[in-house]
């Protein structure tokens, strides 16, 4: 069948152009790939190559014509053995090989209404913490031991789980979180890497796509910034980009936020950076029991999960239930202290400020309800809203910078979704909006204090 050559779009935004020059004439033979015309757009002059082969029967638009709309027929080509009489008149547009769509230049598939209302986001199912049976022995464990125990248990359970990172094997971990793992699991499954975060994060993601379950340790999340492209572009987005085919079951973990006197480049809190990204889950435990239960859940999760640990908390001990399989659900906040006057929301090291402040407030007759967020993505807003409906006040506590922080998001959501229940504007306690200074006095000034939390709580209580 004779083929119409259409005015092509030569960029994502082109709607019309000038047919500057024909490089063929009627009667010429064209081959695919041959340059047949030059077209001027607002950006450039582009060459048009033939796709179809045959003899040029007619040039429908003369050279020099301005404003030729995309998809206008500009020439007719006769294929092998076709005769001119078989060719349609140019005004009978819809007879070329893409007959139907040519009739309507803008493709609009029939089955989906053009004005379809945007679908609502799916509703999240409420999660429950695992019940700890009465009489369960509680073992005093440090945070670093709890994280190590979680990894060890999951590595025993699933031979596809392995740990990779800088100094995780022979050195036993820069912060000793992987202590003993090399001895138990050997160098095949506990792997020291060179100092190349982007490279080994990508290797982890590739291994996860290949069906393994990697745990990638960043010595600190400050160095994980080298690998942020692999975390976001490769790990978080691939499931969506593949239409659900290619999951990425991987854990990235390491200490996050300020340690002590290590300066600006080693003291950054990445909570809001990663909580921002669809396709990731982000956990930030504050105590050993949650750290163990969340880490085990993270390793079993089918998605990329980031664990934001905290160096200051590694040595803190707490009771961990002695159970075969202690799991904490990802996405579930926990009310760790009940109260009726003000809701305080914190996570990770922020919980230390919150709980200390709650003690002081109690002495002044203010009963604070303290929520440990535990997971930063997905955010368990329902638990927070429920508490606000009881206390009518909220204070968020974090060490991170204040601009676009997780605290900002919670305060905004409280104001947007719970406005009628608030008796005071939400209050936010954050780190100072400065790079972390080294000097001891300045570093203290850059971090929140228990007193700031107490004052913020009193403020929203008008006390």
């Amino acid at each position: 069948m004779p083929t119409q050559i259409l005015m092509p779009a030569l960029s994502p935004t082109m709607e019309e152009g000038k047919l500057a020059k024909w490089l063929i004439k009627e009667g010429d033979m064209v081959k695919s790939g041959m340059v047949i015309a030059e077209i001027e757009t607002d950006k450039a002059t582009m060459e048009v190559e033939a796709v179809d082969e045959g003899k040029v029967q007619r040039l429908l638009v003369p050279a020099g014509t301005e404003g030729v709309k995309v998809n206008t027929p500009i020439a007719i080509i006769l294929g092998d053995g076709e005769t001119a009489s078989a060719a349609p008149a140019p005004q009978q547009a819809a007879t070329a090989q893409q007959a139907a769509p040519q009739a309507k230049p803008a493709p609009a598939p029939a089955s989906v209404p053009a004005q379809a209302a945007p679908p609502a986001a799916p509703v999240v199912v409420a999660l429950q913490d695992q019940t700890i049976p009465a009489g369960t022995e509680m073992v005093s464990t440090t945070m670093r031991e709890a994280l190590r125990d979680a990894m060890a248990e999951e590595m025993r359970r699933d031979k596809d789980v392995f740990l990779m990172g800088e100094e995780v094997a022979q050195y036993q971990g820069a912060y000793k979180v992987s202590q003993g793992l090399l001895d138990e699991f050997g160098e095949k499954r506990v792997i020291d890497t060179p100092i190349t975060e982007q490279g080994f994060a990508g290797i982890g993601v590739g291994a996860a796509m290949g069906g393994l379950r990697p745990i990638i340790e960043f010595m600190t999340w400050n160095f994980g910034m080298q690998a942020i492209d692999q975390i976001i572009n490769s790990a978080a987005k691939t499931l969506y980009m593949s239409g659900g085919q290619m999951g990425c079951p991987i854990v990235f973990r390491g200490p996050n936020g300020a340690a002590a006197r290590v300066g600006a480049q080693h003291s950054q809190d990445y909570s809001s950076w990663y909580a921002h990204v669809p396709g990731l889950k982000v956990i930030a435990p504050s105590n050993p029991a949650d750290a163990k239960g969340l880490m085990k859940s993270a390793i079993r999760d089918a998605n990329p999960v980031l664990c934001l640990e905290n160096e200051i908390l590694y040595g803190i001990a707490g009771p961990v239930p002695k159970m075969d399989d202690y799991l904490v659900p990802i996405g579930k906040a926990k009310i760790v202290r009940e109260g009726r006057h003000v809701t305080m929301v914190a996570w990770s090291r922020g919980m230390q400020y919150a709980l200390a402040a709650a003690e002081i407030l109690a002495k002044d007759g203010i009963e604070a309800e303290v929520i440990d967020l535990r997971t930063l993505r997905p955010l368990d807003m329902e638990t927070i809203f429920k508490s606000i409906r009881k206390t009518n006040r909220i204070v968020t506590i974090e060490e991170a910078w204040p601009v676009c922080s997780v605290g900002s998001e919670i305060c905004a959501r409280a104001a947007i979704d719970c406005f009628d229940h608030l008796d005071a504007p939400p209050a936010k306690v954050s780190g100072a909006d400065v790079p972390m200074p080294y000097a001891a006095n300045l570093e203290k000034l850059a971090l929140p204090t228990v007193d700031q939390v107490v004052q913020a709580a009193k403020g929203v209580c008008y006390a």
Binding site: K43, V112, P118, F200, V205, G210, M241
Partner: protein, 342 residues
């Protein structure tokens, strides 16, 4: 302009030297190569046309001119091997055996596309065909390929990962992080550098301090060689020889494929960085499909009529793919919220 390997085809460091003569392909392999390369070319030409008609949006990077690279290497691969590449990826998908309808429908953003319309030209995957994308960040797919190779070694199978990237990506830092670890851990990984001479609009002479990419692994003791990527026989032979060596547990290898893309970097490329004459000269003298075609005729393995029959079959496949890709529905609006987390 050197499209044929310069100097010694095989570097002095190669443990698997190439034979002096390029081995011939048997008749059925030549015919297979002709058919597969032609399918890629016709598919890409049609994709370009659909782009011009407004059916394909955004970016669309065509593989025209480079067909022999993936076609020849797929002849050397075995069941279970993985393939991963960057964003000039349609040819790789077809060569991996992915359905042309599903690929074209992804280009048009329809529900029958490989990623149900959510990936687009640069992001398609097929677990079934061991094709791992389709990645849009230049260089970032290279560590992912090493991760797939790591999984092979971890599991103790003899699969290799064919990790394709371009001369542009070859200048990215993470490629060298990956080479270091791949050699350190003896990963079954083949770095396939498709050197088409231009990273978007910047020639290798303007972007690379050393333009022999096959030697980029020297600091890590990774052997490499340059191959005439416009000759499917040379590609297939090198692929077989090298993959046997990698499969045997000897660690990674670099295959630099000297090739050329005829079309622009993407659809909106006015191609002012090279002359029309340069493109025409490659097309006339080194076209990978014409070279196979000439051999088939010369040896009397196929007649003009036989070749026309193959052309017609290929055109039919591509036409069916294009028709499907235009007629298929867009994704259901509810798809907006699926496949974010499992």
């Amino acid at each position: 302009m050197a499209l044929a390997p310069s100097g010694n085809q095989v570097s002095t460091t190669s443990p698997v030297p190439a034979p002096a003569q390029i081995p011939e392909l048997p008749k059925e392999k030549e015919i297979q190569a002709y058919r597969e390369m032609l399918l890629i070319r016709r598919f890409e030409e049609r994709a370009g046309q659909l782009y011009g008609m407004g059916f394909i949006g955004g970016f669309c990077h065509l593989y025209i001119g480079q067909e022999a690279v993936v076609t020849g290497l797929q002849m050397a691969s075995k069941q279970g091997d993985q393939v991963i590449t960057t964003y000039r990826d349609h040819g790789h998908m077809l060569a991996c055996g992915m359905d042309s309808k599903g690929v074209m429908a992804e280009l048009t953003g329809r529900r029958g596309g490989y990623s149900r319309g959510k990936g687009g030209s640069m992001h398609m995957f097929s677990k079934e065909k061991n094709f791992y994308g389709g990645h849009g960040i230049v260089g970032a797919s290279v560590p992912l390929g090493a991760g797939l190779a790591f999984a092979n070694k971890y599991r103790g199978n003899d699969n290799v990962c064919w990790c394709y990237f371009g001369d542009g990506a070859a200048n990215q830092g993470q490629v060298y992080e990956t080479m270091n670890m791949a050699r350190l851990w003896h990963l079954p990984l083949i770095f396939v550098i498709e050197n088409n001479r231009y990273a978007m609009g910047t020639s290798i002479e303007r972007s690379a301090a050393t333009t022999d990419f096959s030697q980029r692994g020297r600091s890590f003791d990774i052997p490499g060689e340059q191959v005439d990527g416009m000759d499917v026989r040379a590609v297939a032979a090198a692929g077989k020889r090298v993959s046997d060596w990698v499969r045997a547990g000897n660690g990674p290898y670099i295959l630099e494929m000297l090739t050329y893309r005829y079309r622009g970097h993407s659809m909106s490329d006015p191609a002012k960085y090279r002359t029309r004459e340069e493109v025409d000269k490659v097309r006339e003298e080194r076209d990978p499909i014409e070279r196979v075609r000439a051999r088939l005729l010369q040896r009397g393995w196929m007649s003009e009529d036989d070749l026309k029959r193959i052309d017609a079959q290929v055109r039919e496949i591509v036409t069916a793919a294009a028709e499907f890709a235009q007629a298929d529905a867009e994704p259901d609006p509810a798809e907006l919220w699926t496949d974010i987390v499992l």
